[in-house]
Amino acid sequence: MTDPAPPDTGATRAEGGAGRRRWRRLVRRYRSGLLGLPLVCAVLATAVLAARLAPSPPLEMNAGQELQPPLGRFLLGSDEFGRDLLSRILFGARISLVIGVTSVMIGTMLGGTAGVAAGFLGGRTETAVLRLADCLLSFPPLILGIAVATILGPGAMNAAVAVGIVTIPTFARLAWTSVLGEKTKDYVRAIESLGASGARIVGRHILPNVMGVLLVQMTIAMAQAVLLEASLSFLGLGTQPPNPSWGGMLNDSRAFLREAPWYGLFPGLALSLLLLGLNLTADSLRDLMDPHTRIR
């Protein structure tokens, strides 16, 4: 099937050239996002469709089929209990994304709210919020995650809370600086002089203007959260066996690297692809939001 050729007029050719140039410029500028977003979408799709795509249930053990190599009965091989690795990796995507989204929500809600309050109210609220944020920032991120996971005990949802707490100070500080920047602008002064309440000024006017920055931070935090959850699970402090999480699978694989190298490869590959996708998307979003790089 061929498309009918467009009428060959000079005008359309010039337009087409300009359009193509525009496209090429867009593609070049957002190259990383064009690579990253499909990766993220692919992982998202596998997470949603895990139950349909997986050849077998992720917890199903097969006696006598332990540590089978790939391309046999199991496409990606099997683990030490004869469980299908592909199915476990597909369901692992679900855990990774759910914990990632949950923790970023916790970070945005608590950190963002505290930061907006600090920026708008100033005074004691500001001092308290910033001091607390500084205090959380004085822990290396993973160490803070470990500390919170120790208090809460191991488990997937506890890991989500731990990771969420790690992301709080960044959101708080970011929301604080953004609100400070907006607060003194003329449009806020104008609404103020019209007698609008504080809640209305923040909710209807300031918040929509700082949302963009927070959105970029959410994608960055998402990559950070997925990595932190995997690290905690790798250390045995996150998602607990037999539930399939990529970090936990990599931890289990260490005992069998000699007999079953694929066991240590595939879950890490899945995790790296998701992280690469998230990082590239975040890079592009940041470029999109930052007028400094957009002009260049």
């Binding site: 205090c135 004085s138 470990i146």
Partner: protein, 319 residues
């Protein structure tokens, strides 16, 4: 400069105190009564009660905090629930391994990252640049424990070049020690290398647009001299700042990398202690990690103030 140092230290005091409160509370937030854990599961209640009194657990929390802080200031981090050794002894035994790993990781990062960044900036838009920038994106995303596992698979199991795990102290046999150190150090250093390469490339490209570079070129200097003596020397400061910011990654990364390679450092200590519910050891190790992190941050800030008079004189950005 003295004024700036004192001001910066003064600013740190409330944060340090608040952080110690959090670390102190960990022992009280974890499930289980510390006295009962220390006494053992079959200890009679009188013994537990006596132990509780001895540990000061019957006093109010603020009093306990002040007592604990006083002990910490004197270097007493308590006694391990499990091994009954002083926690400080356990930490001192593990600290050299962690310092060795983090310093080696940092050196690997610098040795790989800086040249890569310089080459990428010099060949902007050409093949080497593309190679460096795409490797950066890759190594910034791949989690270090997976880098470690693939390194073990490739260099230890498939090629049999290096040992897959363990550590030999440098004083015993430097050469063997180095063989054990290489894989963990590279695993930890790849991320630093990627960040350094990315930032030194950008910093160098920015500096190369400055008029003094044109002057240097006009004097007839060779391109290498222009880049290294004039360009790189001026791009170094922002790169150093970025390096200071990596302390958090290095310490957290060490915990994970130590787990991958069975490296007997502080990271193993904290993970093992959590597994054994040895919460005094967890608390002590956390304190040491946070103290190291804060110290590096402080030194970075001071170095920055020393290099940039605007910060030293307390003028805020944008003011």
């Amino acid at each position: 400069m003295t004024g700036y140092v004192l001001r910066r230290l003064g600013q740190a005091v409330p944060t340090v105190l608040l952080t110690t409160v959090l670390i102190f509370l960990i022992l009280h937030l974890v499930p289980g009564d510390p006295a009962a854990v220390l006494a053992g599961s079959d200890a009679p209640p009188e013994v537990v009660e006596a132990l509780r009194k001895e540990m000061g657990l019957d006093r109010s929390l603020p009093v306990q905090y002040v007592i604990w802080l006083g002990r910490v200031a004197r270097g007493d981090l308590g006694v391990s629930y499990v091994s009954k050794f002083p926690v400080w002894t356990l930490i001192l035994r593990r600290l050299p391994a962690t310092l060795e790993l983090t310093i080696a990781g940092l050196l690997v990062g610098i040795a790989l990252g800086l040249p890569a960044g310089i080459v990428a900036a010099m060949c902007r838009g050409r093949l080497p640049d593309l190679f460096v920038t795409s490797s950066n994106a890759l190594f910034l995303s791949i989690p270090n424990f997976w880098i470690g596992i693939t390194f073990i698979l490739a260099f230890a199991l498939a090629l049999n070049w290096l040992p897959p795990s363990g550590r030999v102290p440098f004083v015993e046999s430097p050469l063997t020690a180095l063989r054990f150190l290489l894989l963990p150090a590279f695993t930890l250093g790849m991320h630093i290398a990627a960040i350094l390469a990315r930032f030194s490339r950008t910093a160098l490209l920015e500096v190369m647009n400055e008029p003094f570079i044109r002057t240097a070129r006009a004097k007839g200097l060779t391109e290498w001299v222009v880049i290294l003596r004039h360009g790189f020397a001026n791009a170094l400061l922002p790169v150093l700042t970025i390096l200071g910011l990596q302390a958090g990654y290095l310490l957290g990364g060490a915990v994970v990398v130590e787990s991958v390679f069975a490296w007997p450092g502080l990271g193993r200590l904290i993970v093992e202690s959590i597994g054994n519910r040895d919460y005094t050891a967890v608390q002590g190790t956390l304190l040491v990690f946070v103290a190291m992190f804060m110290l590096v941050n402080l030194l970075t800030d001071l170095a920055y103030g020393w290099a940039d008079p605007r910060i030293r004189l307390g003028r805020r950005r944008g003011a």
